[in-house]
Symmetry: C2
Subunit: 164 residues, 2 copies
């Protein structure tokens, strides 16, 4: 067997997906970014200060009341172009297998990405933000206020990354 046939790299391991899902999501809007193809996306969000736009569906727009008082937001979005069955992955830059839950790769059982963004402007149902690295048109799942008291840990370390 060649792993190439399955679109995975040597050292990568997959799990069998469950037969049935357990819960369902509604897309609440879309994310507009400058990046139309994956190769154009920044490697991580700190590499770019591009202003992106969160466009919230009219149905949910009243939920934005007082969001403008926040300097930073937590954004959850759906990385729908990635395989969901990888448990060990070999990121191209590092070349060694690591567990999916030790990586921020979009390939994961539930491809819900989390980014912390800086809020630049609010115009009706559109939020201008800095700090995203996803494809244009990515489905939006949630927006939350970022509380430094619970969400900020300046001295946190990802050991495998610090060792590289």
């Amino acid at each position: 067997m060649t792993t190439k046939d399955f679109g995975i790299r040597e050292g990568e391991v997959t799990a069998e997906l469950p037969a049935e899902p357990d819960a369902a999501l509604y897309f609440i809007g879309r994310i507009h970014t400058p990046w139309k193809e994956r190769k154009d996306c920044p490697k991580n969000a700190r590499e770019s200060d591009a202003i992106c736009t969160l466009e919230i569906d009219a149905r949910w727009a009243p939920g934005l009341k007082e969001v403008e008082t926040c300097t930073h937001l937590v954004v959850l979005y759906w990385m729908d172009k990635s395989p969901r069955n990888l448990v060990l992955q070999v990121p191209g830059r590092y070349g060694v297998p690591r567990g999916t839950f030790a990586l921020r790769s979009p390939a994961r059982p539930n491809p819900v990405a989390m980014s912390v963004v800086k809020l630049v402007a609010v115009d009706g149902n559109r939020l201008s933000v800095i700090g995203l690295d996803c494809l244009d048109g990515t489905p939006l799942i949630d927006i939350k206020p970022y509380f430094a008291s619970t969400d900020s840990v300046p001295d946190a370390v990802v050991g495998w990354h610090a060792r590289k």
Copy 2:
């Protein structure tokens, strides 16, 4: 009409839910906490240093490789006991309506909660962590490494909260 009939408070506003969901989630495990009822849960995660356990299903356990090198993790979980149609909410402590996306309330279109936790120990498919405030048995959706470089913003402000 009395808002009580609908289980919502005065000043709260709901949206009609979409007819169909857009994506599906797999629960990847369960969270074990000391809190069996909502009234027992800490008001926020910094109020408690209780050690909770993330128990990952065997199917996904290989995905934990190198998670033990992380001091902190992002945990996503499913708050399945909350209404999904509230767009304006009146949190009991404050008494004024605010938008769902300006709150960390579990009542939101997609009840995916995000917590930053401190990793205390790893034992096979069980992670001991500090920093959760959810009910015992809460379904787990994702675990990610916490990168201070992109996830930590010590000076972030939630204006409505700072003014309280």
